[in-house]
């Protein structure tokens, strides 16, 4: 052999052989694919429920909290104080309006106060909002136990939670003295009246939140030296119509505000505990996914390895006829590859079907949750609609495909190690 002739095996032939090989034991292949598809379906459902419930919590937290984006005084998040406010709220509002943000911009005033009735006193937070159209209205109005919602320009009206009402022994129409400490050490107080009592089943809201119109809260800022004419606020909460544009609008806000005094934060920065909770909860889902992956991997290893061990003699024959180790390795690897592709396709048919159904009809967890639908200062809707983002679809596909493919490596190496003489003796 002056010029060495080398063996060739076109990919088309390899895949054709591999395809026929995986269907040698139809029943075994069907059982393996079924178990993978069921595992995949469970993984998709589990991740879909996780993402659906997290997204529901996030959406509610954004509505109840400070929006997708918040513009507030620099340092307020780290150490909130009544004297930290945006003095020229009116001109900033004009500036923000000029940006033509796709969504709404809500002025807000937050105050740490002491609320008292003749019976008792409790520490509380006053949230001065635009009574007519603040998104909190949408969330809390249905939770009003009694009374009515705030009216715009109501300079005395207050909404309190059921827990606070109980502690203060306050009823509809009760007088409430709201007292706030000033930066200089003095204090200032205003008299308000309970217009309504809500029950959100969330202690953080029911025991501590007082909602008022901006006009009521603004008086306290005036006491801190603000000029009412300039419409001072603590922050602007920005609610985007399309949350996909969050990064874009955050960037635009940062470019347009005075960054030495103000800061533009997104909801993740405003609610780090919620983000942390989701990360930890996601970790739990990943553990579940890992267990499913292990089942899938063992399923494939079992099928392909069994098939390799059964064919030791055949591999010996192929090696004797001149098939190189490399081609034998590729042949078995192609079998795993085809199994993996089938597994992913069937897995998505099962998992995707489950997801489509539950994303439309939802899964009702209300029986399991009772009243405990509040988590980390937000609500989780009792009916969870599964959600899967494009990133999740890619992530799940890559993980399952990668795991199933990796599971074919060992059997492929084992097949490639076959020596013809030993194999032909079997």
């Amino acid at each position: 052999m002056n010029e060495r002739q080398q063996s060739r095996l076109p990919m088309r032939v390899l895949f054709s052989l591999a395809w026929r090989n995986i269907w040698r034991h139809r029943r075994r292949t069907v059982i393996t694919l079924s178990s993978i598809a069921i595992g995949f379906g469970l993984a998709v459902l589990s991740i879909g429920i996780g993402d659906g419930s997290h997204n529901s919590m996030i959406r509610n937290a954004i509505k109840l909290g400070e929006g997708h984006l918040t513009v507030q005084p620099r340092g307020y998040l780290e150490a909130p104080a009544n004297y930290k406010y945006i003095a020229a709220g009116g001109s900033l509002a004009t500036q923000l309006a000029a940006l033509q943000i796709n969504g709404s911009v809500q002025p807000r005033i937050s105050l740490q106060v002491l609320a008292s009735t003749a019976s008792n006193s409790v520490g509380a937070v006053v949230e001065g909002v635009s009574a007519a159209d603040d998104p909190r209205t949408e969330m809390l109005r249905p939770m009003l136990l009694e009374g009515e919602w705030l009216q715009a320009g109501d300079e005395r009206g207050l909404l309190i939670g059921y827990g606070m009402a109980r502690k203060l022994k306050a009823k509809l129409g009760s007088k409430l003295v709201v007292m706030a400490g000033k930066q200089g050490g003095d204090s200032q107080a205003q008299l308000g009246r309970v217009r309504g009592i809500f029950d959100s089943h969330m202690d953080e809201l029911d025991d501590f939140l007082i909602l008022s119109d901006l006009s009521f809260a603004r008086v306290f800022l005036e006491g801190e030296g603000a000029e009412v004419a300039q419409q001072p606020v603590t922050r602007f909460a920005i609610f985007l119509d399309n949350e996909e544009q969050l990064a874009h609008w955050k960037q635009r806000l940062q470019e347009s505000i005075d960054q030495s005094a103000l800061v533009a934060l997104d909801w993740r920065e405003m609610m780090p505990q919620l983000v942390q909770f989701i990360v930890i909860d996601d970790a739990g889902n990943y553990v579940f996914l890992l267990l499913i992956l292990m089942l899938v991997v063992f399923g494939i290893v079992n099928t392909v390895l069994m098939s390799v061990l059964e064919r030791t003699r055949e591999f010996g024959l192929l090696r004797a006829l001149g098939m190189g180790r490399y081609h034998l390795l590729w042949l078995v690897f192609c079998e795993s590859l085809l199994l993996s592709l089938l597994a992913v396709v069937i897995g998505w048919l099962v998992g995707g079907g489950l997801h489509l159904w539950f994303s439309r009809h939802g899964i009702d967890f209300s029986a399991m949750m009772a009243e405990g639908t509040t988590i980390m200062g937000t609500f989780m809707d009792p009916v969870v609609f599964t959600e899967l983002s494009a990133e999740r679809v890619i992530q799940l596909t890559v993980i399952i495909f990668g795991a199933t493919l990796a599971s074919g490596i060992y059997p492929a190496i084992k097949a490639a190690r076959v020596t013809p003489v030993a194999a032909l003796r079997t």
Binding site: M1, R4, Q5, Q6, S7, R8, L9, P10, V13, L17, R20, N21, R24, R313, E314, L317, L318, R319, A320, L321, G322, M323, G324, R325, H327, P420, V421, L424
Partner: protein
């Protein structure tokens, strides 16, 4: 000129605590076109010698030359390609790939050789016709009898155009009628295709058809005789 030369071939291996000498100082040469039988009782070293000639096993000592190539010096990958292009194999049983039809089994080696589709299809059909299996070429091995499967193996071995065909007890699992028919086909094709055949056997019917009988006993060549008029059915 000899096609195949074996010089001082020895093979020792360990079986538990005992070292077994399977072959001892085998010297042989086979010329092109010979139809030779390796005979001898079980354990005499026939299969071991065929495996060494075919590059499936390596000798403990000595060398094997096929034409100008010292196959005992080839690397494993080179040996694999050498077997593909220079040798044909027919084993006792399980010769075929079960998921391929008879035609595809015959074509497989030519696919690995890189022959174009039309050429390999033509050759495969031709050799299947020569072994009398045209009507069954699209059947898978499970739909063929033992004798038919062995004939497909013969067609496969020859279609790839080898210099030498090695057959290890090709008739061992066949009944008398099928064994005789297979041997006649092998012998006829050996002459028509001018291909050298070496086959091992301890079947007297097979020996009758050999032109040269090399007898092994205890790993050594006991006798090496050329048969003047071998018996042929045709």
């Amino acid at each position: 000129m000899a096609l195949l030369r074996l010089e001082g071939i020895g093979k020792r291996y360990r079986q538990g605590e005992v070292e077994v000498e399977a072959l001892h100082d085998i010297n042989l040469s086979v010329t092109e076109g010979e139809f030779a039988a390796l005979v001898g009782p079980s354990g005499s070293g026939k299969t071991t010698l065929l495996n060494i000639i075919g590059g499936l096993d390596s000798p403990s000592s000595g060398s094997v030359h096929l034409n100008d190539t010292a196959i005992t010096r080839l690397s494993e990958a080179e040996l694999s390609d050498f077997r593909l292009f220079q040798l044909g194999f027919i084993f006792q049983a399980y010769n075929l790939v079960p998921v391929l039809s008879a035609l595809e089994n015959v074509e497989l080696v030519m696919v690995m050789q890189g022959r174009p589709l039309h050429e390999r299809r033509e050759r495969a059909e031709h050799y299947l016709e020569l072994v009398g299996l045209t009507a069954m070429m699209h059947r898978r091995p499970s739909a063929l009898s033992g004798g038919q499967q062995q004939r497909v193996a013969v067609a496969r071995a020859l279609a790839a155009g080898p210099r030498l065909v090695l057959a290890d007890e090709p008739t061992a699992n066949l009944d008398s009628e099928n064994a005789t028919a297979l041997l006649d086909i092998m012998h006829r094709l050996s002459h028509e295709e001018k291909t050298t055949f070496i086959f091992s056997t301890h079947d007297p019917r097979v020996m009758e058809r050999a032109e040269r009988i090399i007898t092994l006993r205890d790993g050594q060549v006991e006798s090496d005789e050329t048969v003047a008029t071998p018996h042929h059915a045709s």
